[in-house]
């Protein structure tokens, strides 16, 4: 951690990586701690298997550790970590479910109840929870590529450019994928399908 103006701000990924490359092994542990949950979350979502998600997370960290000396620290490391994880998920999918990563699979959709915009009352809170659960189910039904785009964008906060880098996809493909996935989700929400 670095002290700046009396406040503690987390050290950047790139600064941690540089520290590791200068011989501070603890710096990589900090990076690993930072990315373990996001990568596990992504892998768990895509594989739906906690054991596989753990394997992919561990392999991601080991590969990152070995490849770090060859990585340019001029660019953000965040997409790079996800790139390794997405590749491993892709390889897993090819082994377990051929073509699942490349095909846009249509899945059954079910209805949902309509929901109000905001809600402090108990009834509204319940409806909010139902909406959340419904969105969760709808996201789970998206093809893995679209799920990945959604998670990287809205859970991990990556920019479109960073998503394109992490997934090795053209920027326009990322935009199209995201737009299509969101249209599906919105349709499911608005039309009350469950």
């Amino acid at each position: 951690m670095i002290l700046r103006g009396g406040m503690q701000t987390p050290e950047s990924d790139e600064a941690l990586a540089a520290r590791y490359l200068r011989g501070d092994t603890q710096a990589f542990r900090e990076l690993a701690t930072r990315y373990t949950t996001p990568i596990y979350n992504l892998a768990r979502r895509l594989t739906r298997d906690p054991m596989e998600a753990e394997n992919i997370t561990q392999e991601t960290m080991l590969r990152a550790l070995n490849a770090l000396p060859r990585v340019s620290l001029d660019r953000p490391l965040r997409p790079w970590f996800f790139k390794i994880a997405v590749n491993l998920c892709r390889q897993w999918a090819e082994r377990k479910r051929p073509q699942v990563f490349s095909e846009f699979q249509e899945t059954e959709e079910a209805g949902v109840e309509m929901i109000p915009d905001s809600a402090p009352s108990p009834l509204e809170q319940l409806e909010e929870a139902e909406l959340q659960a419904h969105v969760q189910r709808q996201v789970d039904r998206l093809p893995p590529v679209d799920q990945t785009v959604i998670v990287l964008r809205y859970v991990e906060g990556l920019s479109y450019e960073q998503i394109a880098e992490a997934m090795k996809l053209p920027l326009n493909t990322v935009r199209t994928r995201l737009r299509r996935a969101k249209l599906k989700l919105r349709a499911a929400l608005e039309e009350g399908e469950v």
Binding site: G23, F28, T36, Q58, L62, D117
Partner: protein
């Protein structure tokens, strides 16, 4: 009335594109689109986040420790200064000494050294016959031996750098492991 594009709706919902305020204020359809976009974004940012078990975190820590230790062994293996490099550097240095002394002898025997002495003591003499002087100097130089000596010098320096560079890297790696 032209409605907002998908991208504009997304940007507006995220608090950008404030220049579109006037249009949004008058357009019920765009207001509906923006509200739907905000609702979906809100739900997506609150998607369930899976966390690994504490056991896995501990296991990952051990795996990283093991990997770091393996990479140290690998570094020791690859960065150990080769004995053969050292021997080669030594041989190259010996050959360099032989060729260098041979070159100096030939410089003396061929008259190149005398020629140089003359150049410094009687520059006026040489300036009177510049082309003849240059020809005489070239003839007196043991060019082949000179080139061979320079080549050996390059080889000896390169080998010595490899040998001592490996030794330094090993020292750094050892220091890193101690920390």
């Amino acid at each position: 009335m032209n409605h907002l594009t998908w991208e504009q709706i997304e940007n507006y919902a995220e608090g950008r594109e404030r220049a579109l305020d006037a249009h949004v204020a008058d357009c019920a359809q765009c207001q509906h689109e923006i509200a739907a976009e905000r609702r979906l974004t809100h739900a997506l940012t609150r998607l369930e986040r899976f966390s690994p078990s504490p056991e896995f975190t501990a296991q990952l820590d051990r795996a990283l420790e093991q990997a770091e230790s393996n990479s140290l062994h690998q570094a020791l293996k690859t960065r150990r200064p080769s004995v053969w490099t050292g021997i080669a550097a030594l041989l190259a240095s010996l050959l360099l000494l032989i060729f260098a002394s041979q070159t100096i002898l030939l410089l003396q025997e061929g008259g190149a050294l005398d020629f140089l002495l003359l150049y410094f003591s009687r520059p006026d003499l040489l300036s009177m016959y510049p082309s003849e002087s240059l020809g005489a100097l070239i003839e007196s130089l043991p060019l082949v031996e000179f080139i061979l000596t320079l080549g050996l010098l390059y080889i000896a320096i390169t080998l010595a750098q490899q040998f001592f560079g490996g030794a330094n890297a090993l020292g750094q790696t050892m220091g890193k492991s101690e920390r």
